[in-house]
Symmetry: C2
Subunit: 337 residues, 2 copies
DNA sequence: CTTGGCACTCATAGGGAGGGAGTGCCAGCG
DNA sequence: CGCTGGCACTCCCTCCCTATGAGTGCCAAG
């Protein structure tokens, strides 16, 4: 159905169009890629490719540009992920190594990825539910106020103020703190609700109201933070691109956490690279953009996802290489900290 | 030099140009504003205004548009801050009241401001150095690791991991924690360095290396976080505007923390509204934009700044009203929490 | 199956011509 | 002395037209 030469033609069309941003004609192809055949032959092949929906022409007398289906075939079968150069890898490593807390890691990552790919980078904070408890702390901050601090194995720290409504002794707090830690240490965050179910029974009667308040805030925190935080960078890279759908829609989408979530895909998704091209994209305003995403995490455990958003006309092999590399390095950094 | 009618003409030019985005001519002015004089008279006034540099014409046979100097005069003498409507005020209040931690307050504020003004909103996190210590906590998280948590009166929580390199007993930690809190409670963050200077002397000899590590991390945190975090929202509102300098430069500027800092101005600046118009702006890429900013804080104490960035052709009275109102409400929210 | 030739299509750029908005100037009037 | 109406002038903008040229599809020959 599509012989090798036709595939080669498609690859050439994609590559040329990506690099020039102009419809590519048969003559240009024959000149720049030594396909060993004449423009006329290429024209015939292109006619077939167009008939099958892999390429299209913007106007009757223009060259061809790939369709979403064409890009899809290119990504699946005609290209290989392009590894980063050694200097690039070193740059990533040193840049990320300087980070000193989770915010900083994420912030550096997203800026790095934007700069590497010259597109918009999107990074999701490591999921709370997929982390485990490293430590829980209870701190009295005022007469009837406690601060609950929750530290996860990914370095994430959540804190919330608790109104106890009654005075509470240092000893009670210490006891409660000890209970919480023995009960929750190393506990999967998703399992916290069941783990603490037994806890109130082990608390002296006079402290039970406080314990209840603490637990309710703790559970609340887990639920609230379930909608994961996502940040992006590199919006300026969108400016030179001409989106037929309008820049505005893309910028709007970027500021919607929910949209970004869906964009990156589920954390459970294949931890390797995911590419979503044009109309494959769930969001309406982003049907002329593509997303290259990957999961990252500590070891094999995917904690969250990160990726890049750009025009469908993007350098897929290069972008995929950058995303994959950055995802790996972030995983390493998180594992170390 | 400029009589009342000429000022009225300038005001009318600014208002019409802001609302229509088209150069405004003498006839249109005479029609829409009842100035009580004929177009010919207005033409004479406009000629004077142009000579003095308050307005200019893009082409010979076009209407006039205000210059930066014209906007400046408008803002300083010809307009009054437009208060928000009651529904708007209520909306702000309820929207901000739902916030449950500092991140959330800032996040909501910036989105709110962007939506109210239909422009780009910029909010600086409450300054660390201008806050005071509410509580310091030391938590053992592993064999030779402590977590330092610093809580400020503005609800900001900073945490850092400390490598002690030697084992340390619970008692020592408790002692150190108590020392830190008595020494620093309510202490102005800027004064922390001097306040802790005496501290090592009060620590048992065997704990001094740990104490030193803790203090160095504490001071480091204060220094590092001195470059305040700034967030923005509403970039999508830039899309429909045509910046002569190019959208790209504006977007780039928005992603540079340092630029945003300078944009908002020094926290010490007048806590009331600051307006910077066009070329008054320090940053090169933003010479066709204006910034309306204000300080906000708890009580009279300005903690940080927030503001709005838009084209010089913006609705100054409305924007100023929105910025002022939001700044006040955020101050209230922070004071309560 | 490939190739060169050829007619055809159509987007794009360049060049006037006409219309119109707005101005500056001037003479007259209160 | 300031305001007003009239009038000529200046350009910008739009529309239309044409020329150009890239690229295609088709066809007949190798």
């Amino acid at each position: 159905m599509l012989d090798d030469r036709k595939l080669a033609v498609l690859r050439a069309v994609v590559e040329d169009y990506v690099s020039t941003n102009e419809p590519v004609g048969s003559k240009a192809l024959a000149d720049r890629h030594n396909l060993g055949v004449s423009p006329a032959t290429i024209r015939n092949d292109m006619a077939v490719l167009e008939e099958q929906g892999y390429i299209t022409q913007p106007h009757t007398s223009a060259g061809r540009i790939p369709t979403d289906k064409g890009y899809r075939l290119f990504v699946d079968r005609l290209s290989t992920v392009k590894p980063l150069s050694a200097p690039e890898r070193r740059a990533i490593e040193t840049f990320l190594a300087g980070a000193y807390d989770l915010d900083d890691v994420v912030g550096r990552t997203v800026r790095l990825l934007a700069q590497l790919t010259r597109q918009v980078a999107v990074v999701q904070y490591p999921s709370l539910t997929r982390s485990s408890v490293r430590h829980v702390e209870l701190v009295p901050v005022a007469a009837q106020r406690l601060l609950l601090v929750l530290i996860t194995n990914t370095g994430r720290v959540e804190q919330r103020v608790i109104e106890t409504h009654i005075d509470i002794s240092e000893d009670s707090i210490a006891h409660l703190r000890a209970l919480l830690n023995t009960c929750l240490d190393g506990c999967w965050l998703g399992d916290v609700p069941t783990a603490v179910a037994e806890l109130p029974g082990q608390v002296p009667v006079e402290d039970r109201s406080v314990a209840a308040a603490v637990l309710s805030v703790l559970l609340e925190t887990l639920v609230e933070k379930h909608d994961e935080k996502i940040v992006f960078a590199g919006a300026a890279n969108l400016a030179p691109v001409d989106f037929s759908q309008g820049l505005r829609q893309v910028l709007e989408a970027l500021e919607e956490q929910v949209v970004l979530m869906r964009l990156l895909g589920e954390v459970g998704d294949s931890s390797t690279l995911t590419v979503r091209i044009g109309t494959e994209n769930p969001h309406e305003g982003l049907q002329t953009t593509s997303v290259v995403a990957a999961g990252y995490g500590v070891g094999d455990q995917a904690l969250a996802r990160l990726g890049v958003l750009g025009p469908t006309r993007m350098d897929y092999p290069g972008t995929m290489g950058a995303v994959r590399a950055v995802a790996r390095y972030v995983g390493q950094i998180l594992a170390e900290s």
